[in-house]
């Protein structure tokens, strides 16, 4: 038996979480370094995955592991990655060290708080982050529906504590008020996602019942079910397939989040500290869109096609609505949250456009959105930690006192508005082209999103960074070395992937081709194809 690389990638952060949590109260710094070390170790493993992954290999999944787990219910411990998963695991593993580094002081006990040997918020904070990482990684790896579901739901628990337990310093609001809003946000996050999960659980059980009924024994294995459907051994009635699809999709649409199931995100991202907000939107939410590609489309291809018009419409609403609401926000973090809703609209649109460009673009979008939002949100977090306020109106003229901070903020913003040359442009354009070639009207409506993106980013930049220096901003220090170490690599990556995204597209492309063949869709042909040799030139 070869080395279980996939299991290791998930276990290392989990072990890290336990180890970090066990650090004694007095050794806070050690906990931070330990967490950073484990997150880097995970990054190494993810990099090994990326190297060992062979994009051209036959078969949908690689590096597979399979063990019987709960025999009576046909539940297996089955892991495997395709090009989409391996890229997203890399994204997750990449972002966590930055999140840890950016949140270095976020969970330090308040000054003047009495030392108490049991009170270890710092250890808890970093342990929870690593726990989330472990669960997200295994969700990306699981090819058994039950296994996936288990961790899809379980990650709510550490997330709940991260949102509810740690927030920005109160600033001008009272401590009680912030605590109340934080707990509201955390509970809302939990209930929303639990509701989605509950409906999904019914669908998971339904899936089991159907397979048990038709195959003689129930199974949750993705590959087995797909195989059985291809052989004709498993034949879902349209009504059954549709209801199962909806059950899955609902949970993923809450997580993604798709309009009108989005309202938890602004609260959660607004109240959580910036690194946790990045964790939510750049890492955890990606599981939702990823699962649409892996489970909705592969398990229920017919139902996916059936639901496409509605989902495309919802995605379009998300794009425009999220962007318009972002324009109207007065709170920096909520603005980024609504921008993310708009971007998730693009991702879902790309997935359900059912074209190679759309789905490839959507996958790339997940990666690029992760990096660009991380850059923007983390810099915003640094800004907020300096002034103690999230309100846009409290800032002004920052670029005069902290030019590097303003510069990095602008780059993050430009990435958010998909400026060519930065990574998100490539993916956004692919999604647009992919959508346009199947649904021209939808493509055009989505293009409006890029104008609105420019609006909310530039308005934010103008109000916070330019103009005369405001009182509270005067004397604000520029980015420190630790903060620069967080932002600079992210920006470098944005530039690199904007200019040379080929390493990623090469990995993603075959996986997307496989998904497309599952739904039996092929790309629309151009009207007047110019000859290939010429096109290649």
């Amino acid at each position: 038996m070869s080395f279980p690389l996939l299991t290791a990638t998930a276990v290392v952060p989990a072990v890290g979480a336990v180890a970090t949590a066990a650090v004694p109260a007095a050794r806070r710094a050690a906990a931070k370094w330990l967490a950073l070390g484990f997150s880097l170790a995970t990054l190494v493993l993810a990099a090994v995955q990326l190297v060992r992954f062979d994009p051209d290999a036959a078969g949908p999944f690689q590096l597979t592991e399979s063990h019987a787990w709960i025999k009576d219910f046909g539940v297996r411990y089955e892991l495997g990655v395709d090009g989409i998963a391996v890229v997203l695991i890399a994204l997750t593993a990449l972002l966590i060290p930055f999140i840890v580094l950016a949140g270095w002081h976020d969970a330090d006990p308040l000054e003047g708080a009495s030392p108490n040997w049991r009170w270890r918020p710092t250890q808890g904070f970093f342990a929870l982050i690593l726990m989330v990482e472990a669960m997200v990684v295994i969700s990306f790896e699981a090819t058994d529906v039950f296994l996936f579901y288990l961790f899809f739901e379980a990650m709510l628990i550490p997330m709940y504590f991260l949102i509810g337990g740690f927030g920005d310093r109160a600033g001008e609001r009272s401590e009680e008020e912030t605590a109340a809003q934080r707990s509201y946000a955390a509970v809302k996050f939990l209930l929303y996602n639990l509701a989605g999960g509950l409906i999904m659980m019914a669908a998971v059980i339904g899936l089991y019942a159907v397979t048990a009924d038709q195959l003689g024994m129930g199974t949750f294995s993705l590959q087995e079910i797909v195989q059985a459907r291809a052989d004709g051994r498993l034949d879902l009635a349209p009504a059954a397939e549709r209801s199962l699809f909806l059950g899955f999709f609902f949970a993923f649409a809450v997580k993604a989040p798709l309009w009108p199931l989005h309202t938890w995100l602004p609260n959660a991202m607004g109240e959580a500290t910036a690194p946790v907000a990045v964790l939510i939107t750049a890492v955890v939410d990606k599981v939702g869109t990823f699962a649409m590609l892996r489970f909705c489309l592969q398990l229920f291809p017919e139902a996916s096609k059936w639901a496409t018009p509605v989902i495309v419409a919802l995605a379009l609403v998300s794009i425009v609505y999220g962007a318009l609401l972002a324009v109207g926000q007065r709170d920096i973090k909520r603005l980024v949250a609504y921008a993310s809703i708009s971007h998730f609209g693009f991702i879902v649109l790309g997935i359900f456009a059912m074209t190679t460009q759309g789905q490839g673009g959507a996958t790339l979008y997940m990666v690029n959105h992760g990096i660009s939002t991380a850059a923007l949100m983390l810099v915003a977090g640094f800004l907020i930690s300096r002034r103690g306020s999230r309100l846009i109106a409290d800032y002004g003229g920052v670029q005069k006192v902290a030019p590097v901070l303003a510069g990095t903020f602008l780059v993050g913003g430009l990435a958010t508005l998909s400026l060519p040359g930065l990574a998100p442009f490539v993916s956004e354009f692919l999604v647009l082209v992919g959508t346009f070639s199947r649904y021209p009207a939808a493509g055009i409506i989505a293009t409006v999103g890029i104008v609105l993106a420019a609006l909310y980013v530039l308005v934010l930049y103008q109000r916070t960074m330019t103009g005369p220096v405001k009182d509270g901003v005067r004397g604000m220090p520029d980015l420190r070395v630790r903060e620069l170490a967080v932002v600079a690599p992210l920006i470098a990556l944005l530039l690199f992937l904007g200019v040379y995204p080929k390493p990623l597209t090469e990995i993603i492309d075959p996986a997307v081709g496989h998904t497309m063949s599952q739904v039996e869709k092929s790309d629309p042909k151009p009207d007047v194809p110019v000859n290939e040799a010429e096109a290649a030139k």
């Binding site: 060519p420 354009f429 346009f436 409006v448 930049y461 492309d509 009207d527 096109a535």
Partner: protein
């Protein structure tokens, strides 16, 4: 040779990277580093040009693919360059004028503490603009297209501490984004129609596609051009863009970036030729804008805004020419190049005036400056003569040809377009004479500013005057050089193609008519601003003047419809999101909470009441069991 094309773009890009990331230690040497790299780029351009001249007409196009950029399924976008005579013309203009303006900025920005960044942005602009013109496919062109937009944004808002500058920068970027939307839709249409968006295959295959699709592509490209080139209805940003430092206005908002729309239309000529409807739209936009810009230019008292109106108007000429098809492409580009010289020169002159006048921009507070700034006066004057189309100078050759070509369109359309172009020439003469008279002639009208600092007009340093002199040379001789033996026509013809138009009246008549309106325009301006003293505070003016001062009310329209409307929309959506969408969620939570609140009352803590419910429950269960038995 092909490899040099990449270097051409890379040199200023390197400069931008070094200057923007370099930190404080580059503060002093920064301007020279930036200028040097611009000069390197110009040297490379000259080398490429020499090489190109060494080959015959048809073989002059160089294409090269550097690497595959975005390969996804049937979607292939390469980073590949195409350098032909059209691109070459632009490359020379951009790097040449660009280098001069770098040099000028060394003097102009001498006292600005953030000048290192200024030069970084300028270099970034050069790189993006060069990428735009040497790109081998539309998607890469789009990268350059937005890149220049970014550079323009950064430079307009360079003095960010001024809220007006920050707002102007944002406005420019946003309006441009609307245009960019057009370009991206056009590229998507090309992809669905042809399966590619590389120049070669698309333009060759243009004839085979349906006219409807081509019209759509053409209109979308026009939208893009309107945004970038400040054409009606997306022209509103250009006037505000004058908030940027003057060298920026000269380079970006006069000579190069704003002409990108003309490049785009000329480059896509084959598409437009196959879509007459789109061409009609193009000439309409061009004709409307050339009048619009000219009228606005007449009313502005801010010297830079007056010049901005003029830029808009001159680009209107180019767009008009480009919309005429093969008859006009060459002349559009020719006017573009000559305009690049004289308009850059005029802006640099304006900058020089402002430099000597404590950054005063109101022409009503100038007057009589010719004595104080002789070099500026002469170079500005030559630029002035060139732009109004004084016989023998650059503008004369290029503009005259456009007016001629407009008449050659034939029929009523031809008369309308030709008439508009002719009228525009007259108005140009009027407003430029006005600028000239108000600035350099008449009484001195400047006063101490609020702090009591009276301006002491003086000539600018050498780094500023040398570029002005060189550009003045260009303004004088470029047009003649191009026109002799049809040099320029022969140079561009292999790329753009050319057809001779047949104007309903002879070319000589057109020239004569142009001369007449020119003299009329100058005379009218002299009667109003030369003979009588210019009041320091602007008179109320007629309704047309008042409207023109406000950019013909277009900004007011934008403000009321788009800005206010948008604000209301977003505000009400925020309200809807909070009350309706979130209201459903919170409502569900509240009703569950309310229900459990009721249920909670049952748990009153009295052991005996629990006992009652136990007994009751047991009794009911037993009764039910018995009942079931009995039945």
């Amino acid at each position: 040779m092909e490899n040099l094309i990449g270097l051409l773009v890379a040199a200023p890009l390197l400069g931008a990277a070094v200057l923007l990331c370099g930190g404080r230690r580059l503060d002093r040497s920064g301007p020279w580093v930036g200028t040097l790299l611009a000069a390197v780029s110009f040297a490379l351009a000259v080398a490429l040009f020499a090489d190109m001249l060494g080959r015959s007409g048809e073989e002059r196009t160089l294409t090269t693919t550097v690497f595959s950029w975005v390969p996804v399924g049937g979607f292939r976008a390469d980073v590949g360059f195409q350098l032909d005579q059209l691109s070459m013309t632009f490359v020379l203009l951009i790097t040449g004028v660009g280098t001069l303006i770098h040099l000028y900025s060394v003097g102009y920005m001498e006292h600005d503490e953030r000048r290192r960044r200024f030069f970084g942005y300028l270099n970034l602009f050069l790189a993006a603009m060069l990428l735009l013109v040497v790109a081998g496919n539309y998607l890469l062109l789009y990268v350059g297209w937005e890149g220049v937009g970014l550079a323009s944004y950064l430079l307009i808002g360079f003095w960010q501490h001024k809220p007006s500058a920050a707002t102007a920068a944002k406005k420019a970027f946003l309006v441009n984004r609307v245009g960019d939307m057009g370009l991206s839709i056009a590229i998507m249409l090309m992809f669905t129609t042809f399966g590619t968006f590389a120049f070669g295959p698309v333009l060759e295959g243009a004839g085979q596609a349906g006219e409807g699709k081509l019209t759509a592509v053409g209109l979308m490209l026009l939208l893009a051009a309107c945004g970038k080139s400040a054409q009606v209805p997306l022209q509103s940003w250009l006037g505000d863009a004058m908030e940027g430092p003057t060298p920026v206005s000269a380079l970006i908002h006069a000579a190069t970036m704003v002409t990108a729309g003309v490049y785009l239309i000329t480059r896509s000529g084959a598409l437009f030729d196959a879509a007459p409807t789109a061409q009609t739209a193009v000439v309409t936009v061009g004709a409307v804008t050339l009048l619009f810009g000219a009228i606005v230019g007449c009313a502005k008292d801010d010297i830079k805004k007056a010049l901005a109106g003029s830029t808009m108007s001159q680009i209107g000429y180019m767009i008009l020419a480009a919309g005429l098809g093969p008859v006009g492409y060459v002349f559009a580009i020719m006017h573009l190049v000559t305009h690049g010289f004289f308009k850059a020169g005029l802006f640099l002159g304006a900058g020089s005036v402002m430099h000597g006048m404590n950054d005063e921009v109101d022409m009503r507070r100038y007057g009589g400056l010719r004595k104080y700034m002789p070099v500026t006066f002469v170079t500005f004057g030559l630029g002035y003569l060139a732009i109004i189309g004084f016989p023998g100078l650059s503008g004369f050759f290029s503009k005259d040809k456009i007016i001629e070509a407009a008449f050659a369109k034939g029929g009523t359309e031809g008369w309308i377009l030709g008439g508009a172009a002719l009228l525009g020439a007259g108005i140009t003469a009027f407003y430029m004479t006005r600028v000239m008279l108000m600035t350099f002639f008449g009484e001195r009208r400047w006063q101490p500013d609020a702090d009591g600092n009276a301006p002491h007009p003086h000539e600018s340093p050498k780094t500023m005057t040398v570029p002005m002199v060189i550009l003045a040379f260009g303004s004088v001789f470029a047009g003649g050089l191009f026109a002799v033996n049809d040099t320029f026509l022969k140079w561009l013809e292999p790329v753009t193609g050319h057809a001779h138009g047949n104007p309903p009246v002879s070319a000589l008549t057109v020239t004569a008519a142009t001369m007449v309106v020119l003299v009329l325009g100058v005379a009218l301006a002299w009667a109003r601003y030369g003979r009588k003293p210019v009041p320091v505070t602007a008179p109320r003016g007629s309704w047309l003047t008042r409207a023109a001062r406000r950019d013909l009310l277009q900004d007011d329209f934008n403000h009321i419809v788009l800005v206010r409307g948008g604000e209301h929309l977003t505000r009400s959506l925020v309200y809807v999101d909070h009350t309706l969408v979130d209201g459903v969620v919170n409502g569900t939570a509240a009703s569950v909470g309310g229900l459990s609140g009721r249920m909670r009352r049952l748990q009153n803590g009295y052991a005996r009441s629990y006992a009652v419910s136990m007994f009751g429950g047991a009794a009911v269960l037993i009764a039910a069991t018995l009942l079931m038995r009995a039945v």
